[in-house]
């Protein structure tokens, strides 16, 4: 009775099918002949004996069928029959099959593409040993917190607190020691993805993204180098030492041609020599993100040399929180217990290392899921994915409705044939199975085509998301999960949308079925299934078109948003002064010299430096405490700050409203000055003249306000303008990397070589990084909105097409079915125009009902996307009316063809038509 035996026997019978049939025949024949021989021996004549033997044996066909069934062959024979029959039907009506398959291919293809994206964001985990065990350390910061200075991504929680996974190095070390003394979790390890660095290999320079990691990082993650060795604890022992690097598989291909000689090779990172000791496995992407891998991995001990910040090394800095910390769960210790213990330690460590003000709230420690790296923190990133998944589900529903629609029409026209089958003894289940086989065949063909479509489009989305100067290598792995998803989707569609038509097909009474289809001169409504499906399709399209409209208008509104400065003709690029060659404060001198040199380049109208590029989704904020005012009791006294060059305001065409901008008298040695925006005046100096007042910034440095500039946007297009002040880079200089903004009226391609030459006059080794126009920079901040507008627009268009096919199909079928009736009407005197209107009225009715249903649905659904919109409400009247109008026109257009055909029916032909 074992399964393998039966399976073997089944396969054997399948493979040797003709032998099997012959054997069955001869076995039966042997029986009959033997019996006949015995009977003959008993005294019957030869022919009597043979007849008697056959009678005793019984019906041969039934018994051989029983034998086949015993081998499990029957269902296979039936399936083959059904498939052959379906294929024959498709060949006879190729249009039907094509429309159904194409609809499904589009629907399933769209789902495959979005699922690929969603999988990367929602499902993919770090390529390390047991990623489910990883826990990422995170903190929730109150407005008043001892932690002031955070370097790294952070997210606003709905309750107004800030969510971040950044820790200071001293805090990390104390926590690690405390955990080693009383373990509640696996050994702590740490990493950080700092800014990109310049790599030089054999005189060839490029830009790479690094990840600095603690010595136990590889050991704890359970990752082994595919070539050479990983980073060891001994590499990370002494600050400033440990100049070794493990490179990614991608960089190994890109820069070293996968040569094994790369091990032991010395390269330069930011002009610091580093020896390559290993290559990562191809699927390893570091611990921070799942989608793409940093290029080089270095020990944390190299931080003070590789990317020094501020005066003190980050490894001893107690105030700067910047490092990501992870650990594996400890068997037998619940997350809540570990969290409680670490919370206590963290509070002790903060009190031990930092100054805690009396109103300061201690950060709340959170032990968050680390299986996707840092992705678990960013909840906002998931919403767009869910919206896209929902929209593609709607598209598939639309496509499936077309399938159901067509199958319904088909089953009505096959009523007579099915009635004949049932009259001949086919069971209802057997007939349903046949119709279901047909729908499953259609859906699998559609699914296969959809999968191919999805495969071809798999890189379209990452392409839309990346900017030209910063090619993010988004990982769109096309794997088994996607295949399984598509297969499941196809089968589900086939079954769900085939079962209705199959049921309907078998519902006919054999008697009426056989009689009915001949003379139908009066109109007979056979249920509302067809029109209801079309109404449903129109409603879905209404939703999708309206959605597309909302996101398109959001994009338009964003690109028209008032930003407060003039981005036209501004070219941006970054220059980093390598610490090895330009230790502070010589980097300031370098930047000053480059600024001067570039200003002299022909074609440059003006040039300025900024610490942060404008509208690049980055920000820096500091304390803002007016010295001559009592400290505000409530709320925080912080403002955004940007370090800029003297000509910043004129380059960006930001008007100075009162006082003055920066001038030649403001030098490195003169008193520190600042220009503030209107929002600062409104917030800190209501109804006062701020000119000449002083305030304290970070580290209690005092600035004097010399001017007020008009408000302009700083971080991104959606922001409401925050209090912001500008200071001179040569009076502070926190960073060695600055963004240059060059105002010009000549094309970039002409200007760029001159700019390069100008910079190389000062230092041959300084590359111009990330060259882009200010407009491109702004566009990059709304790339997600653009992706949304593009995708939802495409979905809307797809929906319109599918609905069009649906309406056309149902109307064409209706007209064909009613040819006789229309003939009679015309014979009795109906004019062509009347017939046209009669048929059109039907599609108008379906369109109006569908639109109404769609608007009702939009009321319920659009509020889920309201946070993603800009400058309009979720139920934007213009969008809704526009979408409704488009759908109405499309519905009429789709119905017009069949209506016109109806109006041209020749009564004589029609009356003969059956």
């Amino acid at each position: 009775m074992s399964l393998p035996t039966r399976l073997r026997s089944f396969v054997r019978s399948l493979v040797h099918r003709s032998t099997l049939e012959n054997e069955m025949k001869s076995e039966v024949w042997f029986h009959v002949e033997s019996r006949a021989a015995d009977l003959e021996a008993a005294g019957l004549t030869r022919s009597q004996a043979l007849r008697q033997a056959k009678v005793e044996f019984g019906p041969v066909a039934t018994h051989t069928d029983g034998m086949r069934q015993a081998l499990g062959l029957r269902w296979f024979d039936e399936l083959r029959g059904d498939l052959l029959y379906s294929a024959r039907m498709f060949r006879r009506t190729p249009g039907f099959a094509l429309v159904a398959i194409a609809s499904l291919a589009l629907g399933i293809g769209a789902n495959t593409v979005i699922f690929t994206l969603a999988k990367g964001v929602l499902l993919d985990r770090l390529a390390v040993r047991k990623p489910g065990e990883l826990r990422l350390f995170a903190i929730l910061l109150d407005k008043k917190s001892p932690v002031h200075s955070v370097w790294g991504s952070f997210f606003r929680n709905p309750d107004g607190r800030t969510y971040t996974s950044s820790f200071s190095y001293p805090a990390y070390q104390l926590l690690r020691q405390q955990n080693q003394a009383h373990p509640v979790i696996g050994d702590l390890f740490a990493f950080k993805d700092p800014r990109r660095m310049t790599i030089s290999v054999d005189g060839h320079a490029d830009v790479v993204s690094p990840e600095v990691v603690s010595g136990n990082y590889y050991e704890q993650l359970g990752v082994h180098a595919s070539l050479g060795r990983a980073i060891k604890p001994s590499d990370d022992a002494v600050p400033g030492a440990g100049a070794v690097a493990v490179i990614s598989d991608g960089l190994w291909s890109r820069m070293f041609g996968r040569s094994p000689l790369v091990i032991g090779k010395t390269i330069e990172l930011n002009l610091i020599p580093v020896t390559i000791v290993g290559v990562n496995p191809p699927d390893f992407t570091g611990a921070a993100i799942v989608q793409s891998s940093p290029d080089v991995f270095l020990p944390l001990s190299m931080q003070p040399v590789l990317f020094p910040t501020g005066k003190a090394s980050l490894l001893s800095n107690k105030d700067n929180w910047w490092l990501q910390v992870m650990a594996r769960t400890k068997p037998g210790v619940k997350d809540s217990e570990a969290r409680a213990a670490i919370s206590v330690w963290l509070e002790q460590d903060i009190r031990a290392t930092m100054k805690v003000g009396k109103d300061d709230q201690m950060p709340t420690f959170v032990l968050s899921d680390g299986s996707q790296g840092m992705a678990s923190l960013n909840r906002t990133f998931k919403q767009p994915i869910f919206v896209l998944l929902a929209m593609t589900a709607l598209v598939l529903l639309l496509a499936s409705a077309n399938l159901a629609n067509l199958l319904l029409a088909r089953s009505s026209s096959r009523q007579r044939e099915l009635a004949v089958r049932m009259a001949l003894g086919a069971t209802r289940a057997r007939v349903m199975r046949q119709v279901l086989t047909e729908s499953l065949l259609l859906s699998s063909l559609g699914g296969t085509a959809g999968l191919m479509l999805g495969y071809l489009c798999r890189s379209a989305i990452p392409h839309l998301l990346t900017s030209a100067w910063d090619p993010t290598k988004l990982n769109t792995r096309f794997d088994l999960k996607i295949f399984a998803f598509t297969a499941a989707l196809s089968i589900l569609t086939g079954v769900l949308f085939g079962i209705g038509p199959a049921w309907k097909a078998t519902r006919t009474e054999v008697n009426t079925g056989l009689k009915e289809s001949s003379a139908a001169s009066t109109r007979r409504r056979k249920g509302l299934a067809g029109p209801a499906l079309v109404v449903f399709q129109v409603a879905l399209s209404m939703l999708l078109v309206a959605g597309g409209g909302l996101f398109a208008r959001t994009l338009v509104n964003l690109s028209k948003a008032e930003i407060g400065f003039d981005p036209s003709g501004i070219l941006l690029f970054d220059v980093q002064a390598p610490e090895a060659r330009y230790p502070k404060p010589r980097d300031i001198t370098l930047h000053a010299r480059i600024e001067e040199q570039i200003a002299a380049v022909p074609g440059v109208q003006s040039v300025t430096l900024t610490q942060l590029p404008m509208l690049a989704s980055s920000m820096s904020n500091t304390d803002f405490v007016p010295t001559d005012q009592p400290k505000p009791a409530e709320g925080t006294a912080v403002a955004n700050v940007n370090e800029v060059g003297r000509t910043f305001f004129s380059t960006f065409r930001i008007p100075i409203l009162y006082g003055r901008g920066f001038g030649a008298t403001d030098t490195t040695t003169s008193p520190a000055v600042a220009v503030v925006n209107e929002a600062i005046v409104k917030r800190f100096y209501p109804n006062q003249n701020p000119i000449g007042r002083t305030f304290k910034g970070d580290n209690d440095k005092v600035y004097q306000i010399v001017g007020v500039s008009r408000d302009s946007k700083y971080t991104d297009l959606r922001e409401t303008i925050d209090p912001t002040f500008y200071i001179l880079y040569n009076q502070s200089a926190e960073d060695s990397e600055m963004t240059y903004a060059v105002k010009t009226s000549i094309p970039t391609t002409d200007l760029l070589p001159r700019l390069r030459a100008a910079v190389q006059l000062i230092d041959r080794d300084l590359p111009l990084r990330d060259i882009r126009t200010q407009q491109e920079q702004i566009d990059a901040t709304i790339s997600q909105e653009r992706l949304f507008a593009t995708l939802t627009g495409a979905f809307g268009l797809l929906a319109l097409t599918l609905a069009c096919i649906g309406i056309y199909g149902i109307m064409a079928y209706d007209v064909a079915r009613r040819t006789n009736e229309i003939g009679v009407r015309m014979a009795l005197g109906a004019r062509a125009g009347m017939v046209l209107r009669m048929i059109l009225r039907e599609s108008i009715w379906m369109a109006v009902a569908g639109i109404a249903l769609g608007v009702a649905g939009a009321f319920g659904l659009t509020r889920f996307v309201s946070t993603m919109l800009y400058g309009l409400k979720a139920m934007d009247a213009a969008t809704m009316i526009g979408a409704a109008a488009v759908l109405f026109v499309v519905a009429i257009a789709a119905g017009y063809g069949p209506a016109r055909r109806a109006s041209r029916i020749d009564p004589i032909v029609a009356l003969r038509h059956e």
Binding site: T5, S26, V28, F30, M67, A70
Partner: protein, 113 residues
């Protein structure tokens, strides 16, 4: 020859296994053997023997082989496999238990309750 008895539901398989256990047989031989050992008391639909044979073979309890019959014709011979022997034993047990239980039940008179 007394009156023939109709076959009880589900007993055909057991009969075939028993018949084949006594030595390899072709289909017609199985029929003859059953009739012989039952003293011609069982009525078997001859054709229905074959689906049952195929089912038993499909389940791996009997195996088949083409060979020569007594009258020198090609015939398919069935023999019991090892798993078939086990199956036969357990079926026998079941049958005997069932028969015993049925016998006890049917012997019961009203005084015994």
């Amino acid at each position: 020859m007394g009156k023939q008895v109709d076959l009880l539901q589900g007993t055909l398989d057991l009969l075939i296994l028993k018949a084949v256990s006594l030595g390899p047989l072709h289909g017609y031989g199985v029929l003859l053997r059953i009739q012989q050992i039952s003293g011609e008391q069982l009525e078997i639909q001859q054709g229905s023997l074959y689906p049952a044979l195929y089912r038993l073979e499909h389940q791996g309890w009997i195996a088949s082989e083409w060979g020569e019959s007594d009258n020198n014709r090609k015939a398919k011979f069935y023999s019991l496999t090892d798993t078939g022997k086990k199956q036969l034993r357990s079926e026998e047990d079941r049958w005997n238990r069932m028969a015993a239980v049925m016998a006890t039940i049917l012997k019961t008179t009203s005084e015994e309750i």
